[in-house]
């Protein structure tokens, strides 16, 4: 587990390049900064300044080495590296509200942008006109789209939004790809069709983050009512939900077919395990470095002081957070191993820090943790 403090401002979003030597982050302003790893240090190598509003999403395509950014200025730019300089290309999204999230598709021939305009813009490159074209998915989204994730078949797209629902859409673009084969989520997939819809029903909270498993058969999402939900597309469509005792989680990621890591306002990542046979989600463990608590006695004076200040005479002096991150974690990303057998993942948060977590050492440090 290593913490690197990039800045004092929140890191709104981040993206890694293919070999994990460079990271693109946005320090809560209109710019994207790219840092290059040199030894144990991170050196700033590029500054991408084109947006007019705060950057809300960054994604780096590993194979084609292109970065797509989207911002509160209702624009998205695709950046390509030419002669050591990142050159932007504007993408006309045709939205009238801020963009909130962007993700390249697995084959990197299209990307999807979620926005506050209650729609998803799926953009693909039209080589005749040499520009990026966008198609909209509007119905039945009724509020801001907060998060997106692509299915490995490059066609299905999961979207979590502020209308308390998580949906699976088809983003099939006939100009750039072949018709997809049937999946557990459905077989007829015209563009914009809703293949599955979960959530709502008089309860629930904003769906902050969604994640497909590496096979694409399972979908997990976290929502603002402090719940984690997993649904297995092959086993019918009843989702299994766990109501957690933590503050709401903001980001979720599958690290194996059965294990899900999520992090949020509690400043430490948490593991959840999905049992396919029972169809249940259980709490797997809190993933954070346990601090060495000093066992010292408490004097009578301290006892009365605690009574005065905190109304309890216990000795738990939680002066600061014991977790590595000192503020909410906003994003988790896989570093090594992919979503099927993740061995390292990275979190960035509102404290401006980036922490890389090693799954093997977590398993050995926290004894009853098992990542199946």
């Amino acid at each position: 587990m290593s913490l690197h403090q990039f800045l004092l401002e929140p890191i709104t979003c981040h993206a890694w390049n293919r070999d994990r030597t460079q990271i693109a982050i946005s320090p809560n302003n209109h710019e994207v900064h790219i840092y290059q790893k040199s030894g144990n240090q991170w050196v700033k190598s590029h500054e991408l300044k084109e947006h007019n509003g705060h950057i809300t999403g960054i994604d780096w395509a590993p194979k084609s080495d292109r970065i797509v950014t989207c911002g509160a200025d209702r624009n998205a730019y695709v950046w390509s590296l030419k002669d050591g300089v990142w050159k932007p290309t504007l993408v006309i999204l045709r939205i009238n509200r801020a963009a909130t999230f962007v993700k390249w598709s697995p084959l990197e021939n299209k990307f999807a942008v979620g926005s506050g305009a209650r729609l998803i813009s799926v953009c693909y490159f039209e080589s005749d006109n040499d520009w990026w074209v966008s198609k909209h998915i509007k119905k039945p989204i009724r509020s801001t789209v907060l998060s997106l994730d692509w299915h490995p078949n490059n066609v299905l797209l999961a979207a979590g939004s502020c209308d308390f629902k998580c949906r699976v859409f088809s983003a099939y673009i006939k100009e750039v790809e072949e018709k997809p084969g049937p999946t557990p989520w459905g077989s007829k997939m015209p563009f914009g069709a809703v293949l599955a819809e979960f959530g709502g029903a008089g309860g629930g909270g904003w769906v902050h983050s969604v994640s497909f498993s590496s096979s694409g058969n399972r979908l997990a999402w976290v929502s603002h009512d402090s719940t984690v939900t997993v649904v297995d597309g092959t086993k019918g469509s009843t989702p299994s939900q766990l109501k957690t005792e933590f503050l709401p989680l903001l980001s979720v990621l599958f690290i194996s077919e059965n294990s899900v890591v999520a992090a949020g306002h509690d400043c430490y990542p948490v593991l959840f395990v999905y049992d396919g046979t029972k169809g249940s989600v259980t709490f797997g463990g809190k993933l954070d470095v346990p601090k060495q608590t000093s066992q010292r006695g408490i004097s009578a004076r301290e006892r009365f002081q605690n009574l005065d200040r905190r109304a309890t005479s216990s000795e738990t002096t939680e002066q600061g957070l014991e977790s590595l991150h000192k503020n909410s974690i906003s994003q988790i990303s896989v570093l090594e191993g992919g979503k099927s057998k993740c061995s390292t993942f990275c979190t960035t948060g509102m404290d401006g820090g980036m922490v890389t977590w090693d799954v093997k050492s977590l398993e050995s440090a926290l004894k009853d943790l098992k990542i199946v």
């Binding site: 209650r118 009724r142 709502g200 029903a201 008089g202 309860g203 402090s226 109501k243 933590f246 503050l247």
Partner: protein
Amino acid sequence: MSKNTVSNRFRTVDVDEYDENKFVDEEDGGENQLGPDEAEVDSLIRQGNLMEALQAVLKNPPINTKNQNVKDCAEGLVLKVLSAFKSSDVDKGVQSLDKNGVDLLMKYIYKGFETPSDNSSAVLLQWHEKALSAGGLGCIVRVLTARKTV
């Protein structure tokens, strides 16, 4: 000046009603929810069987109904049961509930905070402390984010 500038009626127009994109919650036919059974709960309290009374009063929560009377009745009944418990038994009471029960209890506690009366706040605070240790902060977050509550 040809416009009529005397009237202030425009200031009381609710602009949100005319917003065509306004988010409307799904209707969940809740007209049949009558809240916990008053007679059953009262008899259990009189018998001194407080654990059962707690279970009974948390049945049939009037979550989906729009009838304010039913909701107020239910809240009053819950408060009666909660006050009947001895301080030392509050912990056992909370332990006897499952996760959904703790969430529902927390909803009633916060509803009770909204209209304090004589001793209600002290009793509710005791229950709040025990429910918090059982349900954690997530339980309170679910009370805050619930679209339809008791």
